[in-house]
């Protein structure tokens, strides 16, 4: 063996890994930049030729189109900006209600799938198989068609319970008539919730320091029930209800939920729940049986085993995939455009059609959904950190 073999000639610089990495990256960056420049210059040229305005100036112009339902005051004389805001609020409304309902339904079905009752667990599995394997858009069309085809007109309204009417114009139900007392009741309820939370923390602290327990559950329940009740009684106990009444061809009074909103909500909730059920089932099954046995052997009651041992651990497995499913629900709410619910995508789509400013419109859509996604995942990450195992 001679010296030359032990110390080989220095390799060329273009064989150096680091040098190559720099070159690869420069080439990629240049390609991306060139593509971006090419596309943008094309857009500018095309927009100039078709005399389409650019920029977001259109948000201050008059929208001149009506929106079917809105939580804030809106008319066709308002600006595009306000129309888009209505869209955002409508999207938020259906997503927020949908998230709550789908989590409850999904958790319920997930627990059903694990039931020792054969019938119940079979039905749970059937539900999941069925709803997971059918496109959500088809489900939305199906439920929407159910409203305008299968349900009767207002004169023959279905009336399953007094005060609730299901028709092809949506769902109408009675609500308590407006009275200042109800506002106070709601504030007292909020106060009671906060108070119970404080009580829980205080009870935990006391148990840690003195070992004495405090019946938090019963006291909180009593507070939540009785404080609002007392306020209601003190305010003169208003019992008047605002019940929908048939007048002419439609219902007057009460609260109306449009068929578009109902179909969208039902479709999204049922579809997403089938995925959440699987997540919840997997989460509970991931907890070792030994945990249950250990908890029982130290003398915890079955309810406490679930509350203190199984649930906190299962939650850690459940939360990350649950987050992505809830985000999916928000994103899928954009399918509203297909059944005519005025969500953000629909309003933005109308705006694009009227102004021709497709680039800005699509960019707005993406920005809005990106910010929803980022906010939700930020919140869920915070929650996830909170429930993480604190190891010594």
């Amino acid at each position: 063996m001679n010296a030359e073999q032990l110390h080989p000639a220095k390799s060329h610089f273009y064989n150096d890994e680091r040098f190559r990495a720099v070159i690869y990256q420069l080439v990629t960056a240049l390609l991306v930049a060139a593509l971006g420049y090419y596309l943008i210059s094309n857009v500018q040229e095309n927009m100039a030729k078709q005399s389409i305005a650019s920029g977001f100036g259109f948000v201050d112009k008059e929208a001149a189109f009506e929106i079917g339902e809105s939580l804030i005051d809106y008319s066709a004389a308002d600006t595009y900006g306000r129309a888009l805001l209505v869209g955002v609020i409508n999207t938020l409304k259906v997503s927020a209600i949908g998230m709550v309902l789908t989590t409850i339904l999904g958790a319920f079905i997930g627990v059903c799938m694990l039931s020792s009752n054969w019938l119940v667990s079979r039905l749970g599995f059937m539900y999941v198989e069925l709803f997971q394997n059918i496109p959500v858009l088809l489900q939305l069309f199906f439920f929407y068609a159910l409203f305008y085809e299968a349900f009767p007109g207002p004169r023959q309204a279905l009336n399953p319970i007094p005060g609730l009417f299901i028709t092809n114009r949506g769902i109408d139900f009675g609500v308590p008539a407006a009275d200042p007392v109800w506002g106070m009741v709601i504030w007292v309820l909020v106060g009671a919730v906060l108070l119970s939370y404080g009580l829980k923390r205080w009870a935990t602290w006391r148990q840690r320091t003195t070992g004495r327990q405090f019946p938090v559950f019963w006291v909180s329940t009593a507070m939540l029930l009785f404080l609002p009740l007392v306020v209601w009684l003190a305010g003169g106990a208003p019992t008047e209800m605002d019940v929908p009444v048939l007048s002419g061809f439609n219902f007057k009074g009460g609260l109306n939920i449009s068929p578009e909103f109902s179909a969208l909500l039902i479709g999204l909730v049922l579809y997403t729940a089938s995925f959440i059920a699987q997540i919840v089932r997997a989460g509970i099954q991931s907890i070792n049986r030994g945990q249950t046995e250990a908890a029982m052997s130290i003398g915890l009651k079955p309810g406490l085993v679930l509350q203190l041992v199984i649930f906190p651990q299962a939650l850690r497995v459940i939360v990350p995939p649950l987050t992505s499913q809830l985000l999916n629900l928000t994103k899928n709410s954009s399918l509203a455009v297909a059944i005519g619910y005025p969500d953000f995508v629909q309003v933005a789509g109308t705006t694009i059609n009227q102004t021709g400013q497709a680039v800005e419109g699509v960019a707005l859509m993406m920005m809005v959904y990106l910010s929803f996604s980022l906010t939700t995942s930020a919140f869920m990450n915070w929650y996830n950190r909170r429930i993480k195992i604190v190891e010594r």
Binding site: L39, N117, V136, A145, V345, I352, M365, M366, Y369
Partner: protein, 355 residues
């Protein structure tokens, strides 16, 4: 001896075995469970016979829309009378054997390729040939076949086309993105991260809108790209981001020793990935990947919104004709079954190859 013999003869109590035992164990173990069983049974008894009555006994199968309105049960005629339009859409009527043949060819090739052991170079060439034949069958213009424009492609062939190419093209792109995200090169990594997170943060609909209303503005004047192709590109770009996230999970699950062993054998990056890392990483993530592919298949139905006529949209246009309005339930149940069968067979296949 005597005691042993008699103990052998003692059988378990009759209410612990057989049908009764099974019922007792699975449906009536405890008061609470018994009540639930009875309630569920009561609901089923009310609902199921009614459904059977509607769907089968009172149903009409091959009548005109007028007779359907008089029938008290389901009107499956909306499916049977319109089946050719429902499946083939606006494809020229006398040429519809061509998409049928193309679909049969696709299904046949998929069925043959389902076994890993048959995967070799010859099968690869077979697929190239099959894709070429399918393309010629659909598009025409060669071998004396009448040319058919892509705007006429619709119904089930369009759904299968969008999902097959969506899945086939997004998979390698997704793997590349996942490798990019794991790369040490900062520019490539950040580009991949931005791409993946941005796509995953927005609904598919915005990408489809982009492809249908925004993309034409991006092209120089005079150049147009086919609408089907644009939607196809949107589906591929969307699915790739999700596949990238799944594959990244597989790459992160790989043991560091695998990389070190490959390096110590003198393999370069490309060889390490192709021969050592990817075969193992991709195998770990088969179940979530199939989940993504199933949702990609279901998501092709979203092209309804940009007015492409996939099988969902052909159904909708049947329901818009005056003769067949009002039978949405039946028509939607039919295509729900079509989608269900496709998705179900995909998930069954993934369960089989997992074993």
């Amino acid at each position: 001896m005597n005691t042993m013999e008699s103990s052998r003869e003692i059988r378990p109590p009759s209410n612990n075995v057989g049908v009764v035992g099974w019922l007792k164990h699975n449906l009536f173990n405890g008061v609470f469970n018994s009540i639930i069983t009875l309630v569920v049974l009561a609901v089923l008894i009310r609902v199921v016979p009614q459904f059977i009555q509607w769907a089968f006994i009172d149903a009409v199968w091959f009548t005109s829309g007028k007779e359907c309105h008089e029938a008290s049960g389901a009107c499956w005629s909306v499916v049977t009378k319109n089946i050719r339009f429902n499946i083939f859409g606006y494809y020229p009527y006398d040429q519809q054997w061509r998409p049928l043949l193309a679909m049969l060819l696709l299904v046949g090739m998929l069925a043959y390729s389902r076994d890993w052991k048959r995967w070799n170079k010859k099968l690869g060439y077979g697929w190239l040939l099959a894709l070429f034949v399918m393309g010629v069958l659909m598009k025409g213009g060669l071998f004396g076949l009448e040319p058919v424009e892509t705007t006429k492609w619709s119904g089930l062939p369009l759904t299968l086309l969008l999902s097959f190419f969506g899945i086939a093209a997004s998979y390698p792109l997704g793997v590349l993105l996942a490798l990019g995200r794991q790369s040490d090169m900062i520019i490539i990594r950040s580009l991949s991260v931005v791409y993946i997170e941005m796509i995953r943060g927005v609904p598919l609909i915005t990408l489809l809108f982009m492809s249908s209303v925004m993309f034409p503005l991006f092209l120089p004047e005079g150049v147009t790209i086919d609408k089907v192709l644009r939607a196809q590109a949107a589906i591929i770009l969307f699915t790739a981001a999700y596949i990238a996230e799944v594959v990244r999970g597989g790459l992160q699950a790989m043991d560091k020793g695998q990389y070190e062993a490959a390096e110590s054998m003198g393999l370069n990056y490309y060889q390490t990935m192709r021969l050592i890392i990817l075969p193992q990483a991709l195998k770990i993530v088969i179940p979530p990947t199939v989940g993504i592919l199933i949702s990609a298949f279901k998501d092709t139905s979203l092209v309804v919104i940009i007015a492409l006529y996939d099988i969902l949209n052909t159904t909708k246009s049947i329901l818009n004709t005056p003769e067949w309005t009002g039978f949405s339930t039946e028509a939607y149940i039919f295509i729900a079954i079509v989608y269900y069968l496709c998705c179900f067979s995909m998930s069954q296949y993934s369960r089989r190859i997992e074993k």
